[in-house]
Every structure is written in C-alpha cells, then in structure tokens.
C-alpha cells in the first residue's frame, strides 16, 4: 500500500485568483480525499441589514462580488419587490434580462481566460480578456461603471437605456460574436487543451443532483436545470432559448457548456433589444412604504443558481438577507470530483467550477 501524505493547497496559489484552501490526502500522485476550508476573507455583509435600510442594501448586495454584482443586485431587488407586491414595468424586465446576459458573457469570458492561463495558453488567455473588456465598455456606457453598476433599485432600474444605445450594443455584439468564434476554436479542437480537460473530474448526474450542484457544473453532467427557463423571472418567459447541457460530465463538458452559453447570451441580448417595449423603467416606492414578510428568490447567475432570502418586518430595516451563492453550492461536488484525480489536475478542477470566493465569503 502506498504511503499517504497530506498536501496543503492554497489559500494562496498561482492558479487561484481568490483564497480557498484544500487539504489534499495523496497516495503517490493520486488524490484520495480533499477537505475544503474557506472563511479567509469573510466580510459579514449580510449583517449590514442592522445598519443599512432596505434601499441601501441593494448597494451592499452588489458589492458581494465584482463579477456577479449585476445578478446580486437583481436577486435582492426581486425578493423585496415580491414582498412589497411591486410589479415592475416590462421595459425594466427586458433591460434587467439584457444586463444579466451581458454579465454572463463577461463572467464566462473571464473564466475562459483563467482556464487558458491555468494550462499555459497565455495568448488565448489575453485574447479572452481583451474581448471581455469590450463587454465591460458596454457596461460603462450603460451604467457608468465597469464593476459595480448601481443601476438596480427596488421597483426597477435607476436609468433608462435609450434605443440608439441599444442599437449600438447590437453592433458591438456582432463584432464580439465574430471574435468569439475564433477564440472558441482552440478550446474545442486544440489537442493540448483536450489532453488537460477530457475525462478529467467526472461528475455523474446522480452525484451532481445529490450534492446540490448548480449552474454549468450541473448542466455539464447532463441535467437541464436552468432557472431562467423554469422560473421565467424578469423577461425570460418571453425569450426563446433552451438550457445548454452536455453529457460528457468532465472538465471539457463544463468548458463546452460555458462557451455555448456565451453565444446563447448574445442571442438573448439580441432578442431583448428586438422585443424591447417602450415605457417607464421603474415604479415609484413611497417613502413610507416598507416591506413586510419573507420571500426567497432564485436566479441563474453565470456560475449557477443563486438564492436570495429576505425577511422583513415592516420597518425600513429588514431582519435578514441571506444569499446562497452558486460557488458555495458547488464545493461538495468539487470535493467529490477530486477523489481519484492526479495532483496535477487539482488546479484545473478547482477552476472548472468557476469558483467565486468573493461571493462565497459574502
């Protein structure tokens, strides 16, 4: 029998953009068990409900993460709007859908770049991030921000996006789509890329379901669970699309799902622009109108399903805001796929869940 040894992996590691620690139990070069450890940068943002009123908590929710900020703002607003029984205008729903999908594009492009960097394909990494910059330019035009947008508010959006801006976005997306087709090719076809991804980190559909996995990590195991299509929040019930799945169950399948989701997101943005209704982008919330009740919203963030639980008491300060982020839900499955893998594959496997530790350490 081989000797077992324990290797500490992280919290600081060249392949990890954010701190997560794993105790890897090894037999020779094979991982037999991985024990996760987080909590290095926990900020306690949910506790700020004691000090910030329910309007200000939109800003707090956005600051949970710099990549998923659009979705966090949306999820929190959606939960409070359900409690307050606010029906937001159709234009706001379509704009929220459009902005969420732009967010998905830049998040997936960031991830593709990190993956390329992890297996040493630096020119591909830079190209992915260059294209992502063009999406961030669109955010800057639309909201004034590239990371924190502050466009979501209880009752809709803070500002409208004029039709000529939407037409400009459509042209920009055409250009981005052409560039993406070139960038996607090595991820699909390159032998070196396939050698690092195919057959690595198998997660069966049964395990994926049992472990509460979410997002592309789940859909790459062949389970077509996408809250956009099932819940139909925002304007997704008026958009034509099907959840993208792959039955490969490995790291290559996860990459494939995310690449296809980028093209799908571009298509959804185009549909939003084409179907954009006219009208207001918010409903007024009276100064003496406070939420009273509790609600849990779920939305499909780029990394997977996120849950937002809000409990309010009829005053301007809510009792509880709880965010269940997709990375948190994916940690048990990450540990599962690591058992039996080579030590050299650990960084790739950590990356294939698209970890967002900032979200997890909210």
């Amino acid at each position: 029998m081989s000797t077992r040894s324990v290797i500490p992996f992280g919290p600081q590691h060249p392949v990890l953009p954010e701190p997560i620690h794993l105790d890897l139990v090894l037999e020779d070069e094979k991982v037999v068990q991985a024990i996760p450890s987080i909590g290095f940068i926990h900020r306690g943002l949910e506790k700020l409900v004691d000090k910030k009123d329910f309007h200000e908590m939109v800003y707090v929710a956005e600051r949970i993460c710099g990549i998923c900020s659009m979705g966090h703002g949306l999820g929190y607003c959606d939960a409070v709007e359900h409690i307050m029984d606010l029906e937001i205008p159709d234009r706001a729903k379509f704009l929220r859908t459009m902005l969420s999908e732009l967010s998905r594009i830049h998040s997936h492009m960031l991830w593709l770049g990190l993956l390329a960097d992890a297996f040493g394909f630096e020119s591909l990494y830079m190209e992915c991030w260059r294209i992502r910059e063009e999406v961030l330019d669109m955010f800057e035009i639309a909201t004034g921000g590239r990371v924190i947008f502050s466009i979501m508010k209880i009752g809709g959006l803070r500002r409208d996006l004029p039709d000529d801006m939407l037409a400009d976005f459509r042209q920009r997306l055409d250009k981005i789509e052409e560039q993406l087709k070139v960038v996607a090719k090595p991820f699909y076809d390159d032998v070196a890329v396939k050698n690092r991804l195919v057959g690595v980190g198998i997660l069966t559909p049964e395990k994926a379901d049992l472990l509460g996995t979410a997002g592309p990590f789940l859909r790459a195991s062949g389970i077509a669970r996408d809250i956009r299509s099932t819940e139909g929040y925002c304007a997704y019930d008026q958009i034509e699309f099907e959840p993208i799945i792959s039955t490969g169950c490995d790291s290559y399948a996860r990459t494939e799902v995310r690449i296809k989701e980028i093209f799908q997101a571009i298509d959804i943005v185009r549909q939003c622009i084409d179907k954009m209704p006219a009208g207001a982008v918010d409903v007024p919330v009276k100064p003496n109108q406070f939420p009273n009740g509790e609600y849990m919203t779920r939305i499909e963030q780029p990394r997977g399903e996120a849950l937002y639980y809000v409990k309010a008491n009829g005053s301007k300060f809510i009792d509880r805001m709880r965010v269940r982020t997709p990375t948190f839900a994916n940690i048990p499955a990450l540990v599962e796929v690591m058992a039996g893998c080579d030590l050299a594959d650990v960084p790739i496997l950590v990356l294939t869940i698209d970890p967002c530790i900032s979200c997890t350490e909210r």
Binding site: I35, S37, I38, G39, F40, H42, G44, E46, K47, H82, D209, L210, L211, G212, R225, T230, E231, E294, Y295, M296, T297, R298, E305, L307, Y309, K311, D319, R320, R322, R324, F328, A329, I331, P332, A333
Partner: protein
C-alpha cells in the same frame, strides 16, 4: 418560487429530511435567522421545478441534529450556521468545530 413554509419541529428534522431524500429532493440551502427567543432555520429542498421550504423554530440553547448524513452537502451550511449564529448542530459529518469561518469575533451574527 414557492415561498410557503412547512413548519417542522427540531426533533423531526431527520425524519423529514429522509422522507424528502427518498422522494427525490435535493438540498438547496439552509440558513438561520436570529429571533428574540432563539433562531428560525429555513431549509430549502428542490426536485425538478418543485421547491419545498421547511422552517424550524429553535430556542437559543436548543440543539438540532445534522442532516448531513442524509444530504452530504449539508455540512457546509451547518458549519456556517454554527460559526456565524452559534446554532448548536449535532453530528455534522464534517464538523469544523468553529473554524469554518475565521471570524474576528465568535458567532458574529448571534
């Protein structure tokens, strides 16, 4: 999303979790909210499009059993509830005993 809560007593939670597990549900999340007399726990389970929410009212010092032996991913949520709120959860499959979150003060949300 279904936001009706099914009230369950703390001592019945394992039976309830096992029933849901056999019915094909997966665990979506667990969270705690501080109340004047203790805690309010919300467990969310999903099966395809169906969502079921279970609510448990606990006194401050009242323990509750872990469901991590039924739903393996529960160990993360339960360690979180223990570390942030001080909820006394027994028999977590992987119990970090307070070191899951490295917080400056003990149980900051209590």
């Amino acid at each position: 999303m279904n936001c009706e809560f099914k009230m369950v007593r703390a001592e019945e939670i394992i039976d309830e979790a096992q029933r849901l597990h056999y019915d094909g549900y997966h665990l979506m999340q667990q969270c705690a909210t501080r109340t004047e007399t203790g805690y309010e726990l919300v467990y969310t389970f999903g099966k395809a499009l169906d969502v079921l929410q279970v609510k448990i009212i606990l006194d401050t010092d009242q323990p509750i059993n872990s469901i991590s032996h039924v739903f393996p991913c529960a160990f993360l949520y339960e360690n979180e509830m223990h570390d942030l709120f001080g909820v006394d959860i027994k028999m977590i499959s992987l119990d970090y005993k307070g070191s899951f979150y490295r917080t400056a003060i003990e149980t900051p949300f209590k």
